[in-house]
Amino acid sequence: MDQLVAELRSALSADRVRVESLELALYAKDASTLHGGAAIVCFPLDTAEVQACVRLAVAHGHPFMPRGSGTGLAGGAVPLCAPVVIATTKMDRVLEVSPEHRYAWVQPGVLNLDLSRAVARHGLHFAPDPSSQQSCSIGGNVANNSGGPHCLAYGVTSSHVLAVEVVLPDATVVELGAIGGDPGGFDLRGAFVGGEGTLGVATRIAVRLTQNPPAVRTLLLDFERLADGAVTVSAIIAAGLVPAAIEMMDANTIKAVEPFVGAGLPLDAAAVLLVEVDGLPHAVDAAVATVQEIGERCGARTVQVARDDTERAAWWKARKSAFGAVARLQPDYYLHDTVVPRARLVEVLEQVCEIAARHEVMVLNVFHAGDGNLHPLLAYDARVPGAVERVHAAGEEIVRASVAAGGVLSGEHGIGLEKRDLMPLQFSEVDLELQDRFRRAWDPLGVANPGKVLPRGASCAEVMSLGRVPEGVWI
């Protein structure tokens, strides 16, 4: 280990290779409830230094794990098997912006919202907008194929990555994709996105920049019954309208958020829908009228259109602050992420509430209703005996119910460590074998973020020639 540390410090610098116990403890976690253990944490500045980290880690018998901002919720950045953590936070430069051709090259540590701010003066933005966008990184967005409220109309990260430079697990560097046209061969760029750090480390990313819409209008609909809100969502889509975003918040969420944000959300509503339409002015006007008509027809108690940017911003602040506002109710929460067909939204939401009640856990529902992406938030106090166990049990039932309803395990957060062992709910042995072969083609030795995504090959003993499982590692 000392030799590895010395060589890493020689390749990077002494202050950017950390082994102190406090720092290792900080990097043992991400934003999930899981924790692991890192051997070393490195902070490279560029591609060459990332290559050195990968090469030296593997040469000394350690796996490696890329880490962005650590905002992931599925344990994708929880270090397993004592890896060398390659933290890309110092790779935070916007390298090139081409407003004319609407792309930018960025380093992986650039924060999502910072990128949009950097190109705002050109009338452009980076479309994927997860709720964590103030702190999540582009590299993390690539690893997780991140979404966000506006991906309903604009697509998830994969649709906005033109090319990516990757340090592969054998420390070679490749550039996948291209900023123009259809580069020949397999779409390895697309296949890399969403790989959760198990296929290599992204060191430069060419992102597509999206024109800011000329017109934006935001509506707030409130309902006396959650089911009416869900029906409204389906009716909007069935009418041939694809809003930029359709977000739902239930009564518990409204009660948590409104005192915090003061956005004017009705505290006695069973649910509210935040619907945003954008684009060219006539289409936006027509869409507003359509949403108003549908909302009223489907039982909305009130349908408001934001009077100005201030009100619009307040409503969005309420939506994007929901998770933080839970602290007003309980000190801990477990946020789930599944997708169900819109037609099954009502049914699955009822099941979620029943499951939560049966396990005596508070549930808040705040989610991307437009694409059926549920985020049941289980609020609890970990100090209460049995609370953690009840939350985990309820969470697993919710995931199972979602898949049983024709849905999928994850819409945004990824599989990581959290849902690794649930993959057989959605995929057969043959399906998983195919994915495993794909992964091993990128990483034959199993050194890139081991123990994530696929249930096979999860044992640290399968990683390199590791002699023992390090103390303190939790799998």
Binding site: G180, D182, P183, A441
Partner: protein
């Protein structure tokens, strides 16, 4: 036969060994002698407009799918080279249609696929919902793989609403520079240029379409029935900044460039572009992992233009 029976029958046709050629509409690659020809099931399984998804056999023609989805006010954005183009073929080739500037290439439409593995078993990649990050995105791998990692049996696709209005305009490019049009228009469906003329495809609310056209100096007199004939000899991918120089290699009107996309369609066949060595090696490893004996569409690389 129900869906499962049809899929199992196809897997049986592919079998556990021996070279096979999964034939689509034959629009890009004729079936060679040697490999056994197999054809994916055809037919639409379901259309769910309220989910914006549909499911069909990969052997379904794009023409049939277009007609069926139009009947429910929806469209799947896949290219149609001819009436024989199949859904599976369009996905396997992976080239975008002429409106890919707005709607993206075929990989954007593919949500889930059932494929036959090298062992002759059925496997599912992707998922049935419009949003899904469960496991590796092997749908992206399939699109543009020219059938070399596994024959596609059936697919679930993303549909989009048919726009209220779709119009094409054409004018001399010294009246409307295509790059200027691209800069000034908001999300056009297409901006095309043959060195002499500029074509603009616009979709959306009729009043917005008219106003967008007017904003770049186009009016009723500039409306045309559709895009120009697209040269079918070959297509070259270039960086956006290199499009003008690429087009200037040809006599005016002999090539058509997709502005904002970086594809130039030309009369002459395009020379194969070698993959960078590291990418070629990675592609080879993935191919060997998923098709160890090289039995799927052997020799298609030359047609695909993948120089080794």
């Amino acid at each position: 036969m129900d869906l499962n029976d049809r899929l199992m029958a196809f897997a049986g046709d592919v079998g556990p060994g021996g070279p096979v050629w999964c034939a689509g509409g034959g629009t890009h690659a004729p079936v060679p002698t040697g490999p056994r020809e197999v054809r994916a099931p055809a037919g639409i399984t379901w259309l769910a407009a309220e989910e914006m998804t549909c499911r069909c056999g990969a052997g379904t023609t794009v023409a049939e799918l277009r007609a069926a989805t139009a009947a429910v006010g929806m469209r799947v954005h896949l290219p149609m080279v001819s009436d024989a183009t199949t859904v599976g073929g369009a996905i396997a080739v992976g080239h975008g249609s002429i409106t890919q500037l707005l709607h993206g290439p075929p990989r954007e439409a593919l949500l889930q696929a059932t494929v036959v593995t090298s062992a002759g078993q059925l496997a599912t990649v992707g998922g049935p919902t419009v949003k899904n990050v469960t496991g590796y995105d092997l749908c992206r791998l399939l699109a543009g793989s020219w059938g070399t990692v596994g024959p596609i049996a059936d697919v679930i696709l993303r549909m989009k609403p048919v726009p209220a209005c779709e119009r094409w305009y054409a004018t001399a490019s010294d009246r409307l520079d295509p790059f200027d049009a691209f800069a000034r228009l908001y999300r056009p469906a297409a901006v095309l240029w043959d060195g002499v003329n500029t074509w603009i495809g616009l979709e959306g609310h009729p009043d917005d379409v008219a106003e967008q056209a007017a904003a770049v100096g186009l009016g009723l007199g500039d409306e045309v029935d559709g895009p120009p004939p697209i040269p079918a000899g070959g297509r070259v991918s270039v960086a956006p900044a290199a499009v003008r120089a690429q087009l200037e290699q040809f006599p005016a009107g002999d090539a058509v460039a997709e502005i904002g996309v970086g594809v130039v369609h030309q009369q002459a066949a395009a020379a194969p572009v070698p993959l960078p060595p590291g990418v070629a090696l990675l592609q080879r490893r993935i191919k060997e992992a998923l098709d160890p004996s090289g039995r799927f569409n052997p020799g298609v690389e030359a047609v695909a233009g993948w120089a080794s």
